[in-house]
């Protein structure tokens, strides 16, 4: 479970997120939506321990990310909005590096890397250096390395940007599989129709403040998520 408790983060005098609270339960696919600059990435980076925050707390499976960052990070995987990798490395070396950081044994990593590389059509490209990849291929490498260590919680920032339709379809399948196993998928997105079909819960953020949060049904009622979002934004 992820518990966001009254989190506030400022950049100098500017408030990026203010008093945000919500909960993500095990087995949820949680969509986090908001306009550009609403504070989505800031909150996500705080959740995965990249940013500090000024007040409040974020609990990952009951552990505070502030007090127990390493234990929290062990059960999480983060996919950033821009596929940041060590570009001079071969893809396989990068994935191995990430797996090493999560203490993944040889058998598990072999099995998972093979599984996800085949799924994303990357099985004969992992021997190349990442700087030779396209944006979408880099994104696939980040996804493979995130999934290779079987995270209990997968946090993604705009995961579908730059991916081909097949990869988007495959990711959706993987996410569904994960939640069936009781894992958590939390992601920010602007693609509202995908979120509407895929996610069980949703939170909408505007100017750093949470304006709506709940199950998808509660939030949208009979309308489409896009309509609800536009109304709230308007």
């Amino acid at each position: 479970m992820i518990e966001i408790k009254n989190v506030t983060k400022k950049y100098g005098n500017k408030i990026a997120i203010e008093d945000v609270s919500f909960t993500v339960n095990d087995g949820d696919i949680f969509a986090f939506i908001g306009h550009n600059g609403a504070g989505k990435t800031t909150l996500i980076k705080s959740m995965v321990g990249i940013h500090d925050f000024d007040s409040g707390d974020i609990l990952i499976d009951g552990m505070s990310i502030k007090d127990n960052p390493i234990e929290c990070k062990k059960i999480m995987a983060f996919v950033p909005d821009n596929p940041e990798t060590y570009e001079h490395m071969k893809a396989i070396d990068y994935i191995n590096f990430i797996c090493d950081m999560y203490d993944i044994d040889n058998e598990t990593r072999k099995e998972n890397i093979k599984k996800y590389a085949e799924l994303f059509d990357m099985e004969d490209k992992l021997g190349d250096t990442i700087d030779s990849y396209s944006h979408g291929m880099k994104q696939k490498i980040v996804l493979i390395s995130a999934l290779a260590h079987n995270p209990k919680i997968l946090i993604m920032d705009e995961p579908f940007v730059g991916l081909d339709p097949k990869a988007v379809f495959d990711i959706k399948e993987i996410l569904n599989e994960m939640v069936k196993e009781g894992k958590i998928v939390f992601y920010s997105t602007h693609i509202l129709d995908v979120a509407e079909k895929l996610c069980s819960r949703v939170a909408i953020i505007k100017n750093g403040r949470l304006i709506k949060s709940g199950s998808m049904k509660e939030i949208k009622g009979d309308k489409s998520l896009e309509n609800v979002f536009m109304e709230l934004e308007g």
Binding site: G12, K45, V48, G49, I50, H51, D52, P69, I70, E71, C72, K73, K74, M76, F78, P80, N82, E84, T85, Y86, H88, M89, I92, D93, N96, F97, I98, C99, D100, M101, Y102, D103, I104, D105, N106, R109, K110, I113, K114, A117, E118, E123, D124, K125, L126, G127, D128, T129, D131, S132
Partner: protein, 536 residues
Amino acid sequence: MRKLYSLIRASMTSDMNIFKIRQKKDNKKNSFMFPVILSIFFMFAIWSYANMFFEKFAPMHLQVIVISLVVFLTSIMVIIEGAYKAGPLLFNCKDDQLLLSLPIKKRTILFVRMFKFYLFELLFNGLFFIPLIVAYLRWVEVIDWSFFLTSFLMLFMLPIIPIAIACVIGAIISSISSRFKYKNFIQIVLAMLVILFSFYLSYNMDFILNYIAKNATSINDFIIKLYYPAGVYIKLITKFNLFDLIMFILINCIIFILTIFILSIFYFKTNSRLKNINTSSNIRIDNLEIKSRPKISSLVRKELNTFFKIPVFIINSGFALVMYIVAVIGLCFKYNDTVTLVKDYLPDMVIDNHLSIIIFILISFASFMTSITNSVISLEGKKIIILKSIPLSVKDILMSKIYAALTITTIPILFGDIILFIRFRLSVLEMVLLVILSILTPLISHFIGLIINLKYPKLDYENSSEVVKQSTSSFLSVIIGMLLLIVSIYFISNLVNMFSSILLLLIFLIVYSLTDIILYMYLIKVSIKDFNRLSI
């Protein structure tokens, strides 16, 4: 013109902000003051040295020799180090895609990049030139307005010719290496060859100097023939002539513009070729190595991988280590020449009795002049989020960077030690002490580099040269390294006749151990907070 102004402004704010301060407001003043104070300290040292030289030359009324020497040497320094950093500064930058897609001439892009290079070198030259001029004022009887006008203009003009030469050499290296499969490797080899050739040339200048001396009619004529900008400067401050001044300014401007025109001819092709990356190894996943490693070992491998993939990083960091090996070979094969050289600088030292101390000086040189860690945080760039999101303590992350740097420095230093131990007879205790010092001494440099880089990171860089050569962090580390080397040699020369070699090495071992412990404590207590504050 408006385009050019906007372009310069944009690139200045994004990547030439070498004193960019990231810390909280209350820390801003302190963070800014440190480089300023260090620069003043450095300029004071240059001023003191200049006075020493002026004192020697003043009785013969040859103060101008000192000025021409400093101008000549700083220009040579700019050319040598510019030769390997100019390529990465001009080509294959992160903002290429943006700039090349805009309706701007390639010449304009080149101008902006050369201009940024110029500004940094202006700052660098100023550190030598300003104290030199201030010191000169003390040693001449008559000074008029023309001296100040000429010196002021020279401050801005002197970096131009060395930069133009460096850019041409850098562009040639980039152009040649871009045609090969292993571009980085070729770039490293060519840059190293240029540097080594420059050193070879400067050590074998007798013939050239003799030739010039024979054909020169006066000292001024000699200096002009040796290095035109230095000669003109001397001519102008001894006998001001407006025509010469205007000619000099014109020549510099023409050279700068001409360089841009020449480089722009093959800029686009070279840039495109450098971006070509060999792809499609088509190795099946079953044939790839999938193997687990301990976390720290994996992090160290990643650091080493970064180091060996960035030519400017290798050349910049590896230069002192290469010089160390050259010095070791020189000491082995040209022992008598070395003895004479050391006696010039440290007359009180009895070489045969203090051989281990000579080796220790060499180790100190290699260690303090090799600063790897001053760029390792900045080079993470936006990828810093990877390190910040992995389940590993910040202490382990930082120490892995230290271990990697130590691996890079210790292997060549220990290799040199072994050669010297085989060639010369040292006691076992001396050898043990030297081996330990070969680890403790570079460790100081690595701790300092990392602490400074965490204090002055530059994560939003456009190319690696900017981080490795033109960042506040690299600037401060180099100055601190030089100061540490000077202080070490000062203490060695003063203590060498008071203690036996073994005792002196033991004293340094204790002092360096304590320094390493203090720096380690600072890193894990204070610098960790700097790491946590990093954001992009």
